[in-house]
């Protein structure tokens, strides 16, 4: 399996994936070096500059300014870091919690399996995102609470995925033999089962990163995510909403940032899946 990772050429296999890789690299660079890249770091952080409010895109401000006169490009650049961090954090926590429960359920079976799976089914009985919306409402709006709320509704997907894979691996002779030889369960789970479910796990993680950015943006758009004056893409789309017909650039460019980031993750997620699962490959 490791050999497949040594070659990352599949990330550049056609024009579309090349575009996605470049976009993603740009976003990562912007997220890390934002304060040095942004034309106006002070305004990117949220300092108002009322005299310059609602200036259209042009030489002075490439993407225009918002209601408080802040340079929109700087704001969008500062929004990259929280967007990528929340995606990573949500997927990481959801994957860790979900995988741990899925491994236990798949390996142990019996009533433990039953309890865990009934519980995750309950969480999955809500339409996507609904549980997060409800949770963040009662937790109170904010970036950290949005993160917790997204994890609450995301982990069961991983539990379900990993349990199926774990059951398949657990039924294989080498696992049975290791157990029979007296290898402790903990070691069997980590050394044999976890290693064998890595591939579907990675594919799922890649596919989810974009979806989480979309979900976090949605929460922020209705005012339940990051709060002003933070630079958050979803929040910025909402702030431009009332002036969409006149100062069109605010919502348009902020939303474009979300769209491009999600698009890049989705294209690369597809490429990764095709790479590991040639059955549904496009070649």
């Amino acid at each position: 399996m490791n050999t497949r990772f040594t070659s990352l050429s599949f990330l550049f296999k056609d024009k579309l994936t090349k575009f996605a890789s470049l976009t993603l690299v740009t976003f990562i660079i912007v997220a890390i070096f934002g304060p040095w890249i942004a034309p106006n770091a002070q305004q990117g952080r949220g300092t108002a500059n009322i005299d310059d409010s609602f200036i259209g895109p042009g030489k002075a401000h490439w993407l225009g300014t918002d209601e408080l006169g802040r340079d929109l490009l700087s704001r969008i650049i500062f929004g990259a870091r929280p967007a990528l961090l929340i995606a990573l954090a949500v997927v990481a926590f959801a994957a860790i919690i979900g995988t741990a429960l899925g491994l236990i359920a798949g390996f142990r079976g019996g009533w433990i399996d039953n309890t865990i799976m009934r519980m995750s089914e309950l969480f999955l009985s809500f339409p996507p995102l609904l549980l997060s919306l409800v949770a963040v409402t009662f937790l109170g709006p904010g970036l950290i609470n949005a993160l917790i709320a997204l994890i609450i509704s995301w982990w069961p997907w991983y539990t379900r995925l990993i349990r199926v894979e774990a059951r398949i691996v657990a039924a294989k002779p080498f696992v049975e033999i290791s157990s029979a030889m007296g290898v402790p369960n903990r070691i069997v789970i980590i050394r044999h089962i976890l290693r064998n479910v890595t591939t579907p796990l990675i594919v799922q993680v890649a596919a989810d990163l974009g979806t989480v950015i979309l979900a976090a943006g949605s929460l922020a758009f209705i005012g339940l995510g990051a709060q002003p004056p933070s630079a958050d893409w979803g929040l910025m789309v909402a702030q431009g909403r009332n002036v969409i017909f006149d100062q069109w650039w605010i919502s348009t460019f902020s939303g474009l940032a979300i769209f491009l980031a999600v698009l890049a993750f989705n294209i690369l997620g597809d490429a990764l899946r095709d790479h590991f699962d040639p059955r549904i490959s496009r070649q």
Partner: protein, 337 residues
């Protein structure tokens, strides 16, 4: 029949569990519903009195069972912001949302499946890449942003479609819609009120298009993948060898076999549409459940939130049930479990 009962009882269990999760979220987390009800200016004594009236002074488990019993009897509580019965708010607004979902899923199925099948037909060619890009864009598009863009372009700049609302006020005033089923566009069609019907359809285009983007992307990708999988199977190769025309192979043999998974994805995408309406209705000021949901969330209107959550869970269950039924009809191998 026994199978149906089994399905129904498991569905009921899921709903009770779902109500438990929402209830827990609403009560365990430290936000004071009584304070939300009367506002920040109330005195502590006022809040205390209200807590007793609302039953909030009782232990949480008792509150839960009371809630469950009342919900079962059709008493879904009163909205804190509109002071109306939650069930009435929901039934008043549900038809507008269902019509929106109906048109959105219609768009998604027609365009999604057609383009997916076309992509499979032109596999590896220019058309395939183009459709692939549109489909990925569809699932990557934030609905609230897409909605604003469509408003900006088609309502603001071009003026082809109205920006918000379900009907023009004048139209509703001059040609009032008589209530038959409660569904506004359907009712205006049934009663022959064509000026209202065309006006309603005109208002429907942008919101339905916005809402359908995600499902469209899912469906066209799924349709393409399934068509390709079916086309690579042996029986298709044999039919080709027998000299059946490509048209018959493509539309009669392949498409029919590719349908069942497409039905599954349609069901899944309806689930996405349910929460999708929250954002689309918010952008288009659509008088449905979605905008009510967003307002309730923002104002922590917990009886309304719990009602809407329960309704959404029911909607999700019903969709899955219907999908299973269609599945069993399409594919005799899939029995009802």
């Amino acid at each position: 029949m026994r199978i149906l009962w089994k399905r129904l009882s498991s569905a009921l269990l899921v709903l009770i569990g779902a109500s438990f999760i929402t209830f827990t979220l609403a009560r365990v987390i430290p936000s004071d519903p009584a304070l939300a009800y009367i506002g920040p200016k109330a005195t502590a004594a006022d809040a205390e009195r209200l807590r007793v009236t609302l039953g909030l002074d009782q232990p949480i488990p008792i509150q839960y069972f009371k809630y469950l019993g009342q919900t079962f009897h059709g008493n879904w509580g009163y909205s804190l912001s509109t002071k109306q019965s939650v069930l009435k708010e929901i039934t008043d607004r549900l038809p507008a949302t269902l019509e929106l979902i109906f048109f959105a899923i219609g768009f998604a199925i027609i365009f999604g499946v057609t383009l997916g099948v076309l992509a499979a037909k032109y596999r590896g060619r220019f058309q395939d890449s183009l459709i692939r890009i549109i489909s990925i864009a569809g699932v990557s598009m934030p609905a609230f942003w897409f909605g604003l863009l469509l408003q900006l372009l088609f309502a603001g700049r071009l003026g082809w479609f109205p920006a918000t609302g379900e009907f023009d006020i004048e139209v509703k005033y001059d040609n009032p819609i008589h209530k038959v089923t409660g569904f506004p566009i359907l009712d205006s069609l049934i009663t022959g009120n064509f000026s209202a019907a065309t006006n309603g359809l005109h208002h429907m285009v942008l919101p339905a298009l916005t809402l359908s983007a995600y499902s469209f992307g899912l469906l066209s990708r799924m349709a393409r993948a399934n068509m390709l999988e079916v086309l690579s199977q042996d029986h298709i190769k044999v039919s080709r060898a027998y000299g059946l025309s490509e048209r018959i192979i493509f539309f009669k043999l392949a498409l029919r076999n590719a349908l069942p998974p497409i039905v599954t994805v349609t069901g899944l995408s309806i689930a996405y549409l349910i929460t999708g309406t929250f954002f689309v209705e918010q952008v288009y000021n659509w008088p449905g459940i979605g905008s009510f949901a967003v307002n309730s969330l923002i104002s922590i209107d917990y009886p309304a939130i719990m009602g809407i959550t329960l309704l959404a869970a029911i909607g999700y269950l019903v969709t899955n049930f219907i999908v299973d039924l269609i599945q069993a009809k399409l594919d005799p191998r899939v029995g009802m479990r």
